[in-house]
Amino acid sequence: MNFINLLIYTIAGTLIASMVSIIPGLHIYNVAGIILVFSVTFKNIIPTNILPVFIMSMIVTYSFLNTIPSVFLGAPDDSTIFVVLPGQKYMLEGRGYEASVITSIGGVIGILLLVLATPFSFYVFPKVIRILSPHMFWILGLILVYMVMTEWSNGMKRAKTRFGKFFGAWKSLAAGILTLILSGFLGIIIMNKSLLHLKISFQRVMPAFIGLFAIPLIITNIISKIEIPAQHISESINLDGSLIARGSAAGFLGGIFAALFPIVTGGVGGLLAGYATAQRDERIFVLSQGVSKTVYYVGAFLLFFVPTLHITRGELAWMLTPLYTPHSANDYWIALGTMLISAALAFILSLFYSQLVIRLIEHINYRLISLVVLFILVIIIFLLTGPIGILIMIVGTSIGFIPVMFNSRRMNCIGVLLIPIILNMAGLGPKILKFLGLLK
């Protein structure tokens, strides 16, 4: 492979992903899927041996920049959902830029930790994955159970009676459980019924994801009377060595956990790591989420290049498998180099785009921006998945509104992936499908 060629495609992937990443709710997996379809159809656009480099630069950039819509436009994806609350709080205090920069610093740390973890990628992680593989279904089940059992009640109000208190508290707890179950049902249906055309079947989760995670928040932005304060572009960030060490450790643990386990996203990994390390300081939390999502997205894809093993974790690795197989350690080093170059560019771009979005929200009505974003998302879903996709999106939105209305954990929407996958892994999928009348 020619170095100049690699550099050109790395820069191109970074730039394209940077534009995609700031559109709220749009996931890089969807865009990468379309690019892969194009590259198969028009073979000269991206040579097959360059494809992994291009995709790597896209995923690195996305892992850095997807914080920007989460912080400024309130639309998270599955892995940034935990950045939202503190991130949006920062924004409401006029410190959104600070939150964005802290998360990007976390991203850089995540990338450096992935480089340092190379010996683990070669010798430890493959062994751990082989030991845990036969047990994956119950381990994923554990995550689900933990999420339900640790849902915090937000409703303990000053009710006069025991029943009043109990009811007030259980409103949000029950809403969380209901969200999980309904998302699970939606997941079972979209993963087992061929609702979308075969050509675009790889996009089957996209409308549900946008409906569950992005649209409820955008609509909330439109209908609420939220006033965005002037955003201060600070010249320095208040982080010391101890905060960085703690945030990085927590984020790396969560990210690597999510990268090694199928279906577990960076947000879930970050949640578990946060609990395991009992971190309270918001800066640690925001930094750790930056580390966690970069390690999750990039680390999962990097495992694909581990010599002779090429473990497929994450949707991108699965999509790339039929087109490309890494042959030697050289492929791993190229992927690592691409990751570093792209991360450096993505960090600079994150500062640029944060300032750009701040200017945008300062000059254009926030509700109008949210309306435009909503319009763009609906158009994208319609163009990619047609009216059925819109229908799935509406169902997803209805479910995604439950945690917004009842102030419960929005991460429960991840049931759309976790529940059908766990059921299938445990061999219960067909039985459930039969019970639901989805299988004859």
Binding site: W138, Y146, K165, D240, R246, L272
Partner: protein, 338 residues
């Protein structure tokens, strides 16, 4: 200890049963899940049920626009004195002072055993992360601090100030024992839910539903939670209903200790991987057990323990500073605040 430490302990203990690991891998059984569920169950019972079924006699809800520490102190003292005078237990629930979606007003309550009084101090406005906003302390000095005398000699398991700011406030139970008035923090917490008897009972129920092995795993995971809690500040009501009171903890580990929680969770994960490998038909890790634990836990854990001392972080919530200040100034809160 945090829930995840208990949760992973429950799973770790369940993986010591080779039969459970084998049926999980070969028959896609969820039996190991029971370890996690029952490992965290005592706290789930308390925080999802117990606390809502508790009915305090007095609820103190400070008015955000008319804050007066002396008034709060007197309300608490009234409940305490009633318990002393009538011999019946009383319970008081303190509520938080929510100012907006993101801000709360902090206040602190301490029972002073030296002067047998309750001291209340109104603090600054804090964020959801319990970080104080500078310059938000009450300007009226007289309303900022309050003290009220309590009849009887105060006796309490936790001699420290209680900070009330975000989420929900604590409750206290007052009970006369001879000439002493016992103050019990969170009377609904770690009672019946943190007893071996309930653990065994639930184990029997799980055993009847899912089989003997599941029952043993459930009872063991539940019991280990109680044992782990005994290393903390508050113990449990170990043999409820045969015992009536909560024991004291060994005070060796704080619930929120990042290092303690991390090391326990990490140790559990190392044990889980060790056991899953050990009971696998073709083990992948073949080194002796002592070498495995030396490489995976003793060395990295030891390094972390040593290094963590260099990474102390500033207490931005000012909790420690505020409690230390309150203890120091306790004697200075004199009659003018009564």
């Amino acid at each position: 200890m945090k829930g995840i430490a208990h949760f992973t302990t429950g799973v770790a203990v369940s993986t010591f049963f080779g039969e459970a690991v084998r049926i999980a891998a070969e028959q896609q059984s969820f039996i190991l899940l029971l370890g996690g569920i029952f490992g965290i169950l005592p706290d789930t019972l308390d925080f999802k049920f117990g606390r809502y079924l508790d009915k305090p006699d007095y609820e103190i809800e400070p008015e955000p626009n008319n804050l007066n520490a002396k008034k709060i102190a007197k309300q608490i003292a009234k409940a305490a004195n009633e318990a002393y005078e009538t011999g019946k237990t009383t319970e008081v629930q303190l509520h938080t002072i929510k100012l907006s979606a993101f801000t709360w007003r902090r206040y602190t309550v301490m029972f002073d055993s030296k002067t047998d009084s309750v001291v209340v101090e109104i603090g600054p406005v804090v964020s959801t992360s319990q970080v104080p906003y500078p310059g938000t302390e009450l300007q009226n000095h007289k309303k900022q601090k309050g003290k009220a005398k309590i009849k009887g000699k105060l006796s309490q398991e936790l001699q420290k100030p209680f900070i009330i700011d975000i989420k929900s406030g604590p409750s206290f139970k007052f009970e006369r024992k001879g000439d002493k008035l016992e103050v019990e923090f969170l009377p609904w917490y770690r009672q019946w839910s943190h007893s071996f008897t309930v653990g065994i009972l639930l184990g029997i129920i799980a055993g009847l539903i899912f089989g003997k092995l599941a029952g043993i795993i459930a009872a063991l995971a539940f019991s280990l939670h109680i044992i782990e809690d005994l290393f903390g500040f508050m113990g449990g009501n170990l043999l409820y209903p045969f015992t009536k009171n909560r024991t004291k903890g060994a005070k060796l580990i704080k619930t929120n200790s990042p290092l303690g929680n991390f090391l326990i969770t990490y140790a559990n994960l190392i044990i889980i991987i060790f056991n899953l490998n050990r009971f696998s038909p073709s083990p992948i890790i073949t080194i002796p057990w002592y070498l495995y634990f030396l490489i995976t836990f003793i060395i990295p854990g030891g390094i972390l323990f040593f290094v963590s001392g260099f990474f102390e972080i500033e207490d931005i919530t000012h909790h420690e500073k505020m409690t230390a200040k309150m203890i120091e100034e306790m004697d200075d809160v004199e009659d003018e605040f009564m």
